[in-house]
């Protein structure tokens, strides 16, 4: 799969993020591992440090295997001030995992993210491609049960 993606891109550093996004999207557990980083670095003519640096900078990317649904809690200041801690605590309780971990049934991965651009609706989270704002404990319970039912 990786080779199929790589052959579409020339040896040029500019394509790094595109390659990473494309590959992660296609990969079932949506993470990029060390061997793949080595291969991507070699193909684009950049160092492994460069790829590692980019992947660890953007919260879109992960170096650890993830579950079906990726829940990202905003940890920037406006959310923090609007009781973001409660959001994190509630989600950890509901899912039974800590931030950074994946549920045993591989349904959910809980992560932090930097600002989602919804400071007016703080506190906010993102699940996969969708953003949820003005969160409360009840609202979070409803959202999670919806994902449990649907997936």
């Amino acid at each position: 799969m990786l080779e199929n993606i790589l052959k579409e891109y020339p040896r040029q550093e500019d394509y790094l993020i595109e390659v990473l996004l494309e590959y992660q999207k296609q990969k079932a557990d949506r993470h990029i591992g060390e061997d793949e980083i080595r291969r991507i670095a070699e193909h684009l003519g950049v160092t492994e440090s460069k790829v590692w640096s980019v992947i660890t900078f953007y919260t879109f990317f992960s170096t650890r295997p993830r579950g079906e649904n990726i829940i990202q809690i905003c940890k920037d200041v406006p959310c923090y001030l609007n009781d973001g801690n409660t959001v994190q605590r509630t989600l950890e309780q509901l899912l039974g995992v800590q931030v950074g971990d994946t549920t045993k049934n591989q349904k959910f991965t809980l992560e932090h993210t930097s600002c989602l651009g919804h400071c007016d609706g703080a506190p906010a989270i993102r699940i996969n491609d969708k953003t949820y704002t003005n969160l409360s404990v009840d609202k979070l319970k409803a959202i999670i049960s919806e994902y449990r039912g649907n997936t």
């Binding site: 160092t47 492994e48 590692w52 900078f57």
Partner: protein
């Protein structure tokens, strides 16, 4: 030219300068932390923040260009308070146990905190301890001291073009590490140590071996000898408070005697020997159609780089060991025999401007008996400085003295080994005379001297014009290596030194090395050369004796065993 005001004082400054440069030119001091001369402007730390009248936020002086009419305040209460808070925040995430730190009293963060009058930190320390990287013989990385200034990343990525270190993660969790947060030795690190040279704190340092040397010196059963690299005599002075470019050869020898070494020898001697071996190797390759161009092999940073990134060029590398290792193998054989010393009781120390030399000495193939290292301990210039201070030696008051025999008689050609272009020039001084069979009229090869990244020269050898090239810093080395790899290199002989300026700018040299200091050390190097009686390696009478007594001839059987090596692809 723009007219500006700094702290109310009207000044006319150069167009296009930054506030920091304008202030410096007018003797106004603005504190800095991530800024380093000759490197990129990063404005990461924001310690150089200043106020510009009429503007809302503070600006970083290192990055802000001046404009006509600009009014700057470098020491208003607002500025001083901001700097103090910034520095306190850095300290709150730093292992600030200063008395248990190599750079105590020599630390830019400590000096800054002192200058800003920080005597207690209002912020609680939030450092989360991380493990140290001590997995290689050259460099220790202590992430608990890192202040994320980014100088090491800049020098590793842009100056050396190796890019082992980079920023990992983001925001308050950002760290500077090799890929995957692993060890330097897991990546293509050459241990050049340029990162340790620019680190403002003690987050990246050479692996200190001074204790091992003290132990050997205090062991009465051991015969402890020391060799000193050419570049150390023009830089050790800085460790002792002298200006850059001071030549301290004779005081350095006396200092080493005071430390208790049984003999003090000169690596310049084996630099002369290198020229004999390498010069003949080059001639043999030319005559017999061997692999060309031939690369020099004195620099262990370059050797690691070639083994890791250009394995297809390993046949192009001269098989000569570096002067450090030639010295080690001769010491453990020729010298031990001559002086009737059991090689097991002989401890060979070398003082080098270099961190990669520590790795070089640890290599498996650098053991003539197949077991014990030929060079037992390698110290950097900085470690020697530390030992001299520990001993309470008043360096300025030392009586000058000379190196011991037999490895003390050297030539000017060896003295210039420490400067980029020096090995090439030394080789040309011998090779041209041997080939052309007449005395060389002009000993100075000016074309290969100086700080330009890649230098070229043409020399007449036996009626042919031969092109040679010199590169320093690994990003420039890569350019020449690529040419050779593509098969379109016009050169017969190429000198590579991994560090900017050559060994005089090595990763183990005194702190605060800039291009200006490099130039001072280079000038001093050529002054040492010009004062020497013998200025060509093949005219060194002790080298002649060594061949007569022991080695027989350059490239002979014994030379091959003791003075040459082989290379292998490494990942």
């Amino acid at each position: 030219m723009p007219n500006i005001k700094i702290n109310g004082k009207p000044l006319t400054v150069e167009e296009g300068t930054t506030i920091l440069e304008a202030a410096k030119a007018n003797n106004i001091k603005i504190p800095t932390l991530c800024y380093y001369p000759d490197l990129d402007i990063k404005s990461d730390c924001r310690v150089c923040s200043v106020e510009i009248v009429g503007q809302k936020g503070l600006k970083t002086a290192c990055s802000e260009p001046v404009w006509d009419g600009m009014e700057i305040r470098t020491n208003s209460p607002r500025v001083l308070n901001a700097r103090k808070v910034l520095t306190e925040l850095i300290l709150a995430n730093h292992d600030a146990n200063c008395t248990a730190c190599e750079k105590n009293m020599n630390c830019e963060l400590q000096t800054l905190a002192n200058t800003l009058g920080i005597d207690e930190n209002r912020f609680e320390n939030v450092l989360e301890e991380r493990p140290l990287d001590t997995a290689n013989p050259s460099i220790t990385r202590n992430p608990n001291r890192c202040i994320k200034c980014g100088r090491c990343v800049d020098v590793c990525k842009n100056v050396q073009g190796i890019h082992v270190l980079d920023n990992m993660g983001r925001s308050n969790e950002m760290e500077i590490t090799p890929a995957y947060g692993k060890y330097l030795s897991d990546q293509e690190c050459t241990f050049c140590g340029q990162c340790s040279s620019v680190c403002p704190v003690a987050s990246i340092t050479e692996k200190d071996k001074s204790d091992e040397v003290w132990e050997a010196l205090h062991d009465e059963d051991k015969h402890v000898i020391v060799q000193v690299a050419p570049a150390v005599r023009v830089s050790l002075g800085e460790e002792m408070g002298a200006r850059p470019g001071a030549i301290v050869t004779e005081k350095m020898v006396s200092a080493l005697r005071s430390l208790g070494f049984d003999r003090v020898f000169d690596t310049d001697f084996t630099a002369d020997l290198t020229i004999l071996e390498e010069g003949h190797e080059l001639l043999e390759r030319v005559k017999e159609g061997g692999t060309l161009p031939m690369f020099t092999s004195c620099c262990p940073g370059w050797i690691s780089f070639a083994e890791q990134q250009y394995p297809e060029l390993l046949d192009n590398l001269s098989t000569c060991k570096s002067p450090q290792q030639m010295f080690g193998s001769l010491a453990k054989t020729y010298y031990a025999k001559k002086e009737d010393i059991d090689p097991e009781k002989l401890h060979v120390v070398s003082v080098m401007p270099c961190t990669a030399k520590k790795y070089e000495a640890s290599r498996e193939e650098m053991r003539v008996d197949g077991e014990n290292p030929d060079v037992d301990t390698v110290l950097t210039t900085r470690e020697l400085g530390k030992m001299v201070r520990q001993m309470g030696i008043d360096f300025d008051e030392l009586e000058p003295s000379s190196f011991d025999d037999p490895f003390g008689i050297t030539s000017g050609a060896a003295a210039i080994f420490g400067a980029s272009g020096g090995v090439m020039e030394a080789a040309l001084r011998t090779v041209s005379e041997v080939v052309n069979e007449e005395p060389l009229k002009q000993l100075d090869f000016e074309d290969v001297r100086g700080l330009e990244g890649i230098k070229e020269a043409e020399v007449e050898l036996g009626g042919n014009t031969v092109r040679v090239a010199v590169a320093h810093s690994l990003s420039n080395a890569r350019k020449l290596a690529e040419e050779v790899k593509q098969g379109d290199s016009p050169y017969a002989f190429i000198e590579i030194m991994a560090c900017p300026g050559g060994c005089i700018g090595g990763g183990g040299q005194p702190y605060n090395t800039t291009n200006a200091t490099r130039q001072e050390r280079i000038d001093a190097t050529y002054r040492v050369d010009s004062r020497m009686e013998i200025r060509q390696s093949h005219k060194n009478p002790v080298i002649t004796t060594l061949y007569e007594e022991y080695l027989e001839a350059p490239l002979g059987e014994r030379s091959h065993k003791l003075l040459h090596t082989h290379y292998q692809k490494r990942n």
